[in-house]
């Protein structure tokens, strides 16, 4: 007669698994809905959903990236920077995030911070031309012409 508790345990387990799965599935559906909203340029509606998902750690990096991009699309550069800094703290080796932050800092006229971001990428990948050009542009915007000139000359293989 051990079959009754065994079956009861099985039922409880099944119910618990189903409940858990429902919760996860709910977040997944929410996430995909938010992505759809983002792709339809409905950033205002997508933002709170991504925020909620990020707080719940559901695909946190992706949710945060979408949040940062939504702020950016809305012209809210400061909040976009704040979010991408969070992403960078989660993924310190992600140079795409670093590049994005560089772009946002440039847009916010924070040229020194932008140049630093690109500089960190160049330190790891000296052949990254996009980062080198962006750093040179940021340095130019700060009036540091000679440093920018050196970068361009290096890129063109003309450094004396």
């Amino acid at each position: 007669m051990k079959i009754v508790p065994a079956i009861s345990l099985l039922v409880v387990l099944a119910a618990a698994t189903t409940g858990l799965y429902q919760a996860v599935n709910h977040d997944r559906i929410l996430y995909l809905d938010a992505v759809r909203l983002f792709k339809r340029d409905s950033y205002c509606e997508a933002l709170p959903i991504f925020q909620k998902l990020a707080v719940k750690d559901f695909r946190k990096t992706d949710s945060l990236i979408y949040m940062g991009l939504s702020y950016e699309k809305q012209g809210n550069t400061r909040d976009s920077i704040r979010i991408f800094r969070q992403v960078l703290s989660l993924e310190p080796s992600n140079d795409d995030v670093r590049f994005k932050l560089g772009e946002l800092y440039e847009r916010d006229h924070e040229y020194r911070l932008a140049a630093d971001m690109y500089g960190e990428i160049i330190k790891k990948k000296p052949a990254n031309r996009a980062a080198r050009v962006r750093r040179a542009r940021a340095l130019t915007a700060m009036g540091r012409f000679d440093e920018a000139i050196d970068i361009y000359r290096e890129m063109l293989g003309e450094r004396s």
Partner: protein, 212 residues
Amino acid sequence: MRRIAVTAILILLICTVISGPRPSFAREKTAGGASSLIAPGSADEVPDWMARWELARILGYAKRYDESIAEYKKLLKEKPGLAKARIEMARFLFWSGRIPESLEVLESVPSAQQTDESLLLMADLYRARKAYARAGPIYRDHLRRHPGDHAARLRFAEMLSWQKQYDESLAEYRRILSALPDDVQVRRKYGLVLMWANRFDEAARELRRTLK
């Protein structure tokens, strides 16, 4: 006993149906992935000719004109159709005092590709070469389209005064002063032109205003 087992199996089946299809976690990883959205794209790739163009421009800003011109020449050898680069090069030639060369470069730009800015530069170059008859119509046309460009109007007013066209020159000065009544330097120049036009009382009055 059998009923219990059947009931349990039914509950399990119902749970399975309710929970829907099992998610594909492999798909989950890529569906709606955001990383690709921030990866630098092809627009961030800078070809050598563009890097050289930026280098030429920055050398110009840094007042290293000879180096800048050399880079522009290399660039234009590779991309002769870059009218904008040609115009920039003409400007740096002008800033470095190489007026005839600057004019030559600017005149080589097809008229359809001239901009308001390049035409004004051309007027300034004609003025510098004392080719006033060529500069005048360009200034007039520019000021008709940009009446608020006081710096260009001042250069035009000066040029008219050098040609002894005092009435027209003074009219241009008055237009500037109506917009910038507190500009002491413009008023002093206005006073000088009044003197050259033998209108001494007015000149004295205007010059006195600049000393208050």
